[in-house]
Amino acid sequence: MDVIYDWFRQLYIDHGINLTIVYDRFDRNRMLGGLWTTIKLSLTCLALSVLIGLVGAWLQGARSVLLRAVVQGYIQFFRNTPPLVQMYFFFFALGSLMPQVRNEFGFTQPMIDNYTWAIISLSFFAGAFNVEIFRSGIEAVPKSTVEAAESLGYTRLQSYIHVVLPLAFRVCLPALNNNLVNLVKTTTLAYAIAVPEMLYVANQIWSDAVNVPEMMTFLLFAYVALVGILVWVMRKWEQSMALPGYGR
């Protein structure tokens, strides 16, 4: 490892390309921490937003007019407002209304911390799009197939879980992919409420080491890699669900 560190140190001396995140242990650990926070944030929001999408799409088909209106209102609210404004709203407006709790050191702190607010805000943001994405898939499932399930005695929920969703998923996966890719990129907004994810950490590092171009370039490549992995996984999943004689 030391050979690599020395090489990067030499790179800075010879060419002025200063990647402290490789050769400097402190910066390296900060960046690894940022990367880990981004990954955790992304995976948690991914899971929650898909869950919100599934539940929302189910409620859109509910009998209750009120429930349907609530879902519709939710979608309109989160789709028509900028995600940064949403995050500020959650953190500063709702956050300030939340009670303070005393932590183990005897200090008061907000009941919900900035990381949790980022999860809540981003999940609801991406979830609103996921509801619409799942709806598009559900509408593509032939009515007659649902009717067959009904005539076999399936309840609405049973047919949603066993028949409608598995088919809808296959239809809407490409759209879902797009939204999840966007979600991973949108996690950088958590920077605005000081969640130490990659962008935030990079900012700290370039403030100390004055290596803005290097860090910016690194960030771009890091996101290319992260999103690349997500897309690869989703494609594998799509392929594993392909059905002979169905769709294509």
Binding site: T145, A148, E150, L152, Q158, M241, Y246
Partner: protein, 250 residues
């Protein structure tokens, strides 16, 4: 509810059923009754309400007036136990409507496991037996997209039978099939009828209706115009509308 019902009563008892879709009256007072283990065919021009009538029987379509009793269970009762009704009434559709994401075997197994919560191993054994019965041995692991229309339709029949229904409804089940495969499906249905399953078919296969049915119903414009045993019905139709229809078709 079904306590008052005995096996000598009609298993399907339809009285004066009315149904409209918007301004269009599809059923205008239909009555029909089937004894257990009998086979009846409904024939008639398209748009005469045949399919709607079948769909009313398992409550896929609610009726506006009249009464439909299946094994003494009033279908039109708002408090009816839909599951209890539908597990007794199997339905096979023109377009098969198999679950495309499941194999033939899984298609047959799904409902008994999900709906009736039956034991998986037991259901699998029965499903394999049913697929053998409809002559699809070896196709257990094929997806619907890999099967011909006739094969898919026989999977659909096995899927319905897996719920151990007491009545089977067939809604123009051969209408989407090519002539060669029609036969294999009809053979399956005839075997069922011969084994004593109560079968109600909407069909355009007059030869088959004549051969397999105990009773023929002819519908036109939401009414049963004429009915009787096939011999009488086909050789000596009384109503002019029946005569006209049979004249066009035979």
């Amino acid at each position: 509810m079904s306590a008052a019902w005995s096996e000598s009563d009609p298993i399907v008892d339809i009285r004066d059923v009315h149904k409209s879709f918007g301004p269009v009256q599809v059923l205008a007072g239909v009555s029909l009754s089937m004894p257990m283990r009998s086979t009846a065919c409904i024939i008639g021009p398209s748009g005469s309400g045949k399919s709607t009538l079948l769909r009313c029987i398992n409550a896929l379509v609610p009726i506006e007036k009249g009464s439909i009793k299946v094994r003494g269970i009033e279908v039109n009762d708002p408090k009816v136990d839909i599951l209890n009704l539908r597990r007794r009434v199997g339905m096979v559709f023109q377009q098969y409507n198999l679950f495309p994401h499941k194999t033939a075997l899984q298609n047959v197994m799904m409902a008994p496991i999900t709906v009736l919560k039956q034991d998986r191993a037991e259901v699998e054994e029965r499903a394999r037996r049913l697929l053998r019965k409809v002559r699809l041995e070896g196709k257990e692991d094929a997806y619907p997209g890999e099967l011909s229309g006739g094969q898919q339709q026989r999977v659909a029949i096995a899927r319905s039978l897996a719920m151990s229904p007491e009545v089977m409804l067939f809604d123009e089940v051969t209408a989407a099939l090519d002539p060669e495969t029609v036969k294999e499906v009809l053979i399956t249905i005839r075997e069922l009828a011969e084994e004593g399953m109560t079968c109600l078919l909407v069909t355009h296969e007059m030869g088959f209706a004549r051969e397999v049915a105990d009773h023929i119903y002819f519908t036109d414009r939401g009414l049963i115009v004429e009915h009787g045993p096939p011999k009488e019905f086909f050789s000596n139709p009384r109503d002019p509308r029946t005569r006209e229809f049979l004249g066009q078709i035979l």
